[in-house]
């Protein structure tokens, strides 16, 4: 069984099937690209997988365990972390705090520990802090000096990096990236592509699902591409085949009879 597998996953918004019977699977260490015209249900698909929306039909399994119907924080604890199309960093918290939020589930101390502070609590916070800053410096060492800056004062691409680092802090099995290069210029898009490859180097086993409009990224980063149109999966395969696929071309450019 694949690491993450969905069977006929569907969701209905007031009569509209926003995601329609999608069968999808991804294995350890794979990168899968998700593309499709606007409104084709890519983000909705991620939202169902991460538990924000509840699937109307079908199911999703992570490493053989059913995750359909779990609440988002439970899905996260099972090992699916994500980033968002528009950044969801906490603007008024510092970089360090934003990263520490990512370690929330890996900090094991209880409320009584919080109040009485045995030494292990401080050690735990310290270790998590250290680990997150190490991870952050892996993407951009320059950010370490700005660790106490508020997230709203950080440049756009670095915010993305912070967000990805935050998602990686829980050592997830699956990472969902929703348009990581949105709002970045060409040069920054290249850097972001490198960053995604770096994630792969650092965490060999992680599976990454990436939604992206930039075809250059799609050509180079993912091993396999899934194309959505009007909620349904219309293509699955490698990039080169996708360019030849009539259904995909029709969906993007419009068919001969359109």
């Amino acid at each position: 069984m694949a690491l993450l597998q969905t069977n006929a996953l569907s969701i209905n918004f007031g009569g509209l099937w926003a995601v329609d019977k999608v069968d999808f699977e991804i294995d350890n260490g794979q990168i899968v690209g998700l593309i499709g015209p606007n409104g084709s249900g890519k983000t909705t698909f991620l939202n169902i997988v991460s538990g924000i929306y509840k699937a109307t039909q079908g199911d999703a399994h992570l490493a053989g365990e059913e995750i359909t119907g779990l609440r988002p924080f439970e899905v996260y604890q099972k090992g699916i972390a994500r980033t968002y199309q528009s950044s969801r960093l906490c603007w008024d918290l510092s970089v360090v705090d934003n990263l520490l939020v990512g370690t929330y589930t890996s900090q094991t101390y209880t409320l009584l520990d919080t109040i009485f502070r045995p030494k292990k609590v401080n050690n735990e916070i310290y270790d998590n802090l250290q680990a997150s800053l190490d991870m952050l410096s892996y993407f951009n060492p320059g950010l370490i000096d700005r660790r106490y800056d508020l997230a709203k004062n950080i440049p756009h691409i670095d915010r993305r990096r912070i967000e990805i680092t935050r998602a990686l802090m829980s050592k997830p099995k699956v990472l969902l990236l929703d348009e990581p290069t949105a709002g970045l210029n060409d040069e920054e898009t290249m850097t972001m592509m490198n960053d995604i490859r770096k994630i792969k180097e650092k965490m060999q086993n992680i599976a990454i699902i990436i939604i992206e409009h930039d075809m250059k990224v799609m050509e180079e980063v993912p091993e396999r591409i899934v194309v959505f149109n009007a909620g349904a999966k219309i293509f699955e395969g490698v990039y080169k085949d996708m360019l030849q696929d009539k259904g995909v071309v029709d969906a993007y450019i419009g068919g001969a009879d359109a």
Partner: protein, 400 residues
């Protein structure tokens, strides 16, 4: 200004800071209305100006660096300050009131400051604690300490009851639910004769500690101390303990998760934070703080009535929080202190009380909407003396 900051960051600087603060607080408490107000306005003005140059932040850093010195000198001054009030009944009374409001505001902060859920019912939580003490002592003849404990248990329940419907609501709707709870609380008390109705319950039992009466005029070394002084010590002990708890929670994953929920609850949920549970936690722990404050208040006034724990008291607590600064324990304590003193001293000119009160808030919101001492960035150097950043490895070009 840099030299000044540097001299602050020494043990001596920290002690001097503490002494200056203590003297100013003392003056504001004991002076007549007009000079007291002048000092207060001057102090707030100076704080705001100093903050422009980052001196307030430097002060916080200095206190963190010299924690032991700051705590020892602070405790000595805290013990000295009630004694310094001597036989002045009124000053002792308003100071104790201020301390109690500080505790309530610290509780309210868990909901309003940390989690951004405007709770219009802190006074109802205070009422739960106060009525527990009143009923225990007057109707059942038990010790007020039992009353405090029962109050805490009831406020946990009340917090859960209030928290559950608010889990489904956000923003204005949540505020409306809490407002309804507050109004319902006052009404329930008004119509229940067993709870004293609108007349309230007079003659609430005073606190005693190991047989020592805490509300009594003692004569020590020839000075006849005000009767509130021993009680003030007890309230101070509660304040110190609860401030400690509040700060600990702030510097923990719980506090951080509350902040995350305030900023973006969907992201918080997707980061593994059980948003519902944390929101309930904010209501319950805040409720416990407020309940303790209410119990102490009942012991001070020896009377509980529905008017004392009405909607307007809730508004006052909210104003204290806004004035002092959200999510910063020190700011909250300052705000509660200033507003209590202002409204108590204004009793001489009761006609203008509400006016001045409103005016202060309007001016504050225009000049400094974040409060006098606003929220600070969490500094984890205070937690661990070790440097967080590993010694620099030979780095490549940081921009890649």
């Amino acid at each position: 200004m840099d030299g000044f900051k540097k001299s602050l960051d020494t043990a001596l600087g920290v002690i001097l800071c503490n002494i200056v603060i203590a003297v100013l607080v003392h003056l504001i408490i004991v002076m007549e209305f007009v000079p007291s107000m002048i000092i207060m306005v001057a102090v707030v003005g100076i704080i705001l100006v100093l903050d422009r140059f980052g001196v307030v932040n430097a002060m916080f850093d200095a206190f963190i660096h010299h924690k032991a010195v700051a705590i020892i000198s602070g405790v000595i001054l805290l013990i000295a300050s009630p004694i310094s009030l001597g036989s002045q009944n009124y000053a002792a009374h308003i100071t104790t009131t201020a301390i109690i409001y500080m505790i309530a505001c610290l509780g309210l902060n868990f909901q309003m400051g940390s989690t951004d859920m405007t709770n219009f019912a802190p006074a109802a939580f205070m009422g739960v604690g106060a009525y527990s003490v009143a009923l225990c002592t007057v109707k059942l003849g038990w010790s007020p300490w039992v009353g405090i404990l029962i109050g805490i248990l009831l406020s946990v329940l009340f917090g859960l009851v209030m928290g559950l419907p608010t889990l489904k609501t956000k923003g204005y709707y949540l505020s409306l639910v809490t407002m309804a709870m507050q109004l319902a609380f006052t009404q329930v008390i008004n119509i229940m004769p067993a709870l004293g109705g609108s007349n309230g319950i007079p003659g609430v039992g005073r606190f005693t500690l190991f047989g020592l009466e805490l509300y009594k005029r003692y004569t020590v070394a020839g000075i006849r101390f005000a009767p509130q002084i021993p009680y003030m010590f007890m309230c101070l002990a509660f304040l110190v303990g609860l401030t400690y708890v509040a700060m600990r929670v702030y510097y923990s994953k719980s506090g951080l998760s509350l902040n995350t929920i305030a900023q973006d609850d969907i992201a918080a949920n997707c980061m593994g934070i059980n948003v519902s549970r944390q929101k309930l936690f904010a209501f319950v722990i805040g409720g416990i703080f407020c309940s303790i404050a209410g119990s102490l208040f009942a012991g001070l006034d020896s009377y509980v009535g529905p008017e004392t724990y009405s909607f307007s008291k809730s508004l006052m607590l909210i104003c204290m929080l806004i004035l002092g600064g959200m999510d910063n324990s020190i700011g909250i304590i300052a705000g509660a202190f200033l507003l209590t003193i202002i409204s108590e001293k204004l009793r001489d000119v009761a006609d203008f009380q509400q006016l001045v009160y409103g005016l202060i808030l309007v001016i504050m919101l225009i000049v400094r909407p974040n409060g006098i001492i606003p929220k600070r960035v969490r500094n984890y150097c205070g937690i661990t003396k070790r440097s967080v950043v590993r010694p620099a490895e030979p780095q490549k070009n940081p921009a890649e």
